[in-house]
Symmetry: C2
Subunit: 509 residues, 2 copies
Amino acid sequence: MVSSSQKDFERLFEISKEIAGLKSVLELLHWDQETYMPKGGGDARSFQIAIVSSRIHKDKTGQRFKGALSKLINLKTGKLKNPRLSYAQKIALREWRKDFLKATKLPNEFVKHFSELTAKATMVWAEARKKNAFSEFLPYLEKIFEMSRKKADFLGYEDHPYDALLDEFEDGMTTKRITPLFTRLKKKLVSFLKEIQTKPRMENGFLQKQFSKEKQIAFGQNILDTLKLQRQFTRLDESDHPFTQSLHPTDTRFTTRVTDIGLMSNIFSVLHEAGHAFYEMGLPADYWGTPLCESISLGIHESQSRWWETLIGKSKAFWLYFYPLLQATFSEKLNHISFDSFYSAIHIAEPSLIRVEADELTYCLHILLRFELEKSLLDGTLKVKEIPEAWKEKMNEFLGIFPPDDARGCLQDIHWSSGLIGYFPTYALGNLYAAQFFEVFETTYPDWETRIKQGDFSFIREWLRTNIHTHGRFFSAEELCRKITKKALSEAPYMGYLKNKYGRLYGLQ
Amino acid sequence: MVSSSQKDFERLFEISKEIAGLKSVLELLHWDQETYMPKGGGDARSFQIAIVSSRIHKDKTGQRFKGALSKLINLKTGKLKNPRLSYAQKIALREWRKDFLKATKLPNEFVKHFSELTAKATMVWAEARKKNAFSEFLPYLEKIFEMSRKKADFLGYEDHPYDALLDEFEDGMTTKRITPLFTRLKKKLVSFLKEIQTKPRMENGFLQKQFSKEKQIAFGQNILDTLKLQRQFTRLDESDHPFTQSLHPTDTRFTTRVTDIGLMSNIFSVLHEAGHAFYEMGLPADYWGTPLCESISLGIHESQSRWWETLIGKSKAFWLYFYPLLQATFSEKLNHISFDSFYSAIHIAEPSLIRVEADELTYCLHILLRFELEKSLLDGTLKVKEIPEAWKEKMNEFLGIFPPDDARGCLQDIHWSSGLIGYFPTYALGNLYAAQFFEVFETTYPDWETRIKQGDFSFIREWLRTNIHTHGRFFSAEELCRKITKKALSEAPYMGYLKNKYGRLYGLQ
């Protein structure tokens, strides 16, 4: 006989699975928009997205879901109403409740108003960036930060309004926790970068030539096949900005950007997005529709993409296997380039203006700059109109360069215009999580480089799957970090990794 | 000041537009499934489709829509409650009411049960066809016809249960109206085919060679560009079975099947589906969400595809323009083939077993056979288990050939297993409508062949747009036919077209 609490759980699962179905439809709408949608279909697409999003929001906050959930858990106290459930089911209920409380905190009117504002602001921003006219974007950005402060009030926080926003993307992370971490990271990165800059710049001109697009795409696919990414559950396409969108663990799609000029952008995009895809594909499909088949946070997600892009994809062992194949594919351009020259070329570290083009070593500094600005904007110590000046000052402080204009400064990212405040830190957190996990991985597989050199990658994915992917939201990011590494998150492993690698490459040791 | 009836109309429009949004999402789910979805994503896709379909059904039959509709029109009598609406608005209300009444006639339980049955039956059918085992499919098919009779009872009919089913696909068409039409058509086609069979078979072996897939795709795209199909509102992809799916007049997609062997299958698929696409793209986008931006019926839709595939795409003038280009593209294989040989080769008429491979002249006979069987199965004069024998008899009667097995006989089509009874006739109706419309078109543009020969096609599309597409469901199929041709639908124009063309080609005149 099925107990009544099991029946209640099944009922809730059923309702939640329907919502997951609609969410996956939304993923498809976004994926299609960036890949195959005819250009003229944009207005209809915005409408479709609005309809489906609104249905999802209504379902998530509606009486049907609420009623089913509160049969099993007290929404106010979080106390379970019936103990006869499995541990996994209890965890699912804890997460469902958390999501429900978050989703119901923002009044519908506010959500509607904010999404109208950001839709408009995104268009204004695109124009302002083109024309290098911050003043045109300013009134919109002021309104966005004003509403974001209101949003923080709705969502609630104990310590700093930024906590409420951060929590949307990195559940449980706080300003108090992140600030010292990022401050130490900043200091260490800035000082290490200065050391590196005393050394001569390495050569990478041979990578900036024209490489056949077809061959590049085939090479990317070859990497994926070697990594044993199962083609029946995924697909790789092209888009302007690489991204990953998962409809279900059995249907995860990602894209890459392939340009005629330059060879590495496609390869590292493919590896980065494959990392995101592996995560989504490794979530436990049987729980699809519950929080147990969802990723933990954007930071953990980014740890998976950076893992494959940098820790593996920029490792010597990786290229000892792949560089001969790359040479064979582009023999005319690479046959006379030694392995060492190639390996140095993909590790050039130098200050640059644009975040998305930044190298592995300087990337986090771009993030930390944005974090500091966002924090001050939220607590009012910085005014929105002061952003351009503050941006320039910090670029000089962090990287020793001055943006010549706002287009290549504070107007470069789409995030703020879309209302994504509190999102940037997850990019840096991803690097830290990845490096800290990697230390444990290295202890488990001291021969990882020998294996990779022979083209064996399945043990890596398997390690990630068992240690991270398969848990879904069973653990919080902090819990997962402690479970795997026995330590709280720290910048030390990441700095250790960078110093070790770049120290050797630049002859600093 | 906006009158209250205008406000009520806007409100209804708004609700209906939301439903249209969900419907367009369903179109995307289907399109993606046949084109780019990873193979392993099938189960998740079935679930997504079920969720969205069920939401659409709920919306269409729910209190929100019903309340808004009944503010403007009496649902029982069809009487408008407020005369201060435009003529177009009144027509929209008439059609909305018709749709609502139809949608609410079937009990939810029945719909669910029927869709579960057909989902299972489709799988059983696919296996049974492979194994040539009608007996395995029989119990499912019996159930499907039993439920279809019940469905007819739910939907209601005056004269023949088949009317209720037919009406689902060809609004307003009846068995009484269609039977004499189809009987005359059958007699004329059978006798004409016999005449043709006295003549020697024409040669088409040179078209059954290997042709480069890439060049075939490029040639298809070249035809579409010449036809001025706007690329920003549409796209062409490949799939196993060609189809068209429209999300919105600004986002209409279609597919073609390109094989290594044979050249014409791709070209005629492209033309056929482009005809469907032109129709969808020509619907009045401002009315999207109302019946005024919907196609009239499957028969009228098929008239548009057959128009481009046969009346234009198999015309001498079309190939006088395109054959030199085709020769240039495949010079090695076609340079020694004269225009006349080519033109004859695409007009071979001979009995064959498989509907989807049938030629222009015999195609309708395959349809008429299915119509006669469906009708007798519905009124009980034929039993489901007698289908294989009846099929063979009729194939002999209509085409003078016997299927060697059921796989190439009564098991060849997917339609019945999907519960689509009453659908087949629309394929034949499409040919009749097209030919009857074409007579008027020829009178308006006596120089159409001269224009086409020079690669000018826009006037044709414009004629179809103004006379057919732009009206949406403003007129019924019969009304449209009378409006354009001043006559009721008849088989005479179609037979006239066939006799004229094939008579000449086979030297019968």
